[in-house]
């Protein structure tokens, strides 16, 4: 599954399969993390229309962590230990993700040196809007 070194070249672009972030996907994500008891007050921006509107959103929004998790897993699947041991991401969550949105992760290799590859990364929704943008790095040297 990991990219061979020959595939890591400047300009290479990678695109993930689409990820439907609906209520079922959000529930699965919650079941895969450990949250403190009562972390989320009842009626919060993730599950309540009024709370979401007070915070400035049109509807309840998905947790930003889930979008980060999706792009990080995409890179981990694609690059394996080059990412998991010495890799890095730095991202901004630029637009809310609403339940039912379909997300696609994209990565483009923009720099290479002896030890590291630099990538531009983003996650788009089905309307072509960027919901996450940032950079990532991979280790190129042997583990």
């Amino acid at each position: 599954m990991s990219a061979a070194p020959g595939e890591i070249r400047i300009g290479a672009e990678l695109v993930s399969p689409p990820y439907l972030l609906d209520a079922a996907a959000a529930k699965a994500y919650i079941e895969g993390i450990e949250e403190p008891p009562r972390r989320r007050p009842r009626g919060n921006i993730h599950d309540d229309n009024d709370a979401a509107r007070k915070a400035g959103f049109a509807a309840p929004i998905a947790a930003g962590e889930q979008t980060i998790a999706i792009v990080a897993q995409f890179l981990a699947d694609r690059f394996g230990m080059r990412f998991m041991r010495g890799g890095r991401i730095e991202v901004s969550l630029t637009k809310p993700v609403f339940y039912g949105d379909t997300l696609t992760s994209r990565a483009k290799i923009v720099s290479l040196d002896a030890d590291r590859a630099g990538l531009e990364i983003q996650v788009d929704n089905q309307r072509g809007e960027q919901v996450l943008t940032g950079i990532a790095a991979l280790r190129l040297s042997a583990a």
Binding site: G32, I33, E35
Partner: protein
Amino acid sequence: MSEDTRLPMCAENLHEGMRLGPIYYLVTAEQARAFADAVKAASPDFIPGAHNPEAIVSPTMRLQDYALLIAAHLKGGKGGVHAKHWCEFHEPMRVGQAVKSEGKITATYRKRSKFYFTLEYESRDAATGRLLVRQAITSVLLNEKGEMR
């Protein structure tokens, strides 16, 4: 029952230099499997099983440690909106590993009337001290009315 001495989660109680944690936990196969399913991990390396009992876990499975660190010291609040995040992956976590996580508030500021804070935190093998992940979350704190200001 002991008294809850945690401070309320609000801008006034978040200060640069404030240390949070440590917390300790064991990385379980159940969580690793559930998280890998949730993020639709494609590589079998992330799926624990009889053939892979010490599977590596998805890179951000413990990103949520920031919430546990906060909850260990602060209570209540209306939550926040995740704005930025960075992660450095030094060594993958593995199923069965005991982990220690701790953090520190490294920035608090107001921008366009919103209150932001940054929490840097790191996770280490609890037995050896080896660094696994270092990361930071920047979040907009919702006020007591649930608004971003």
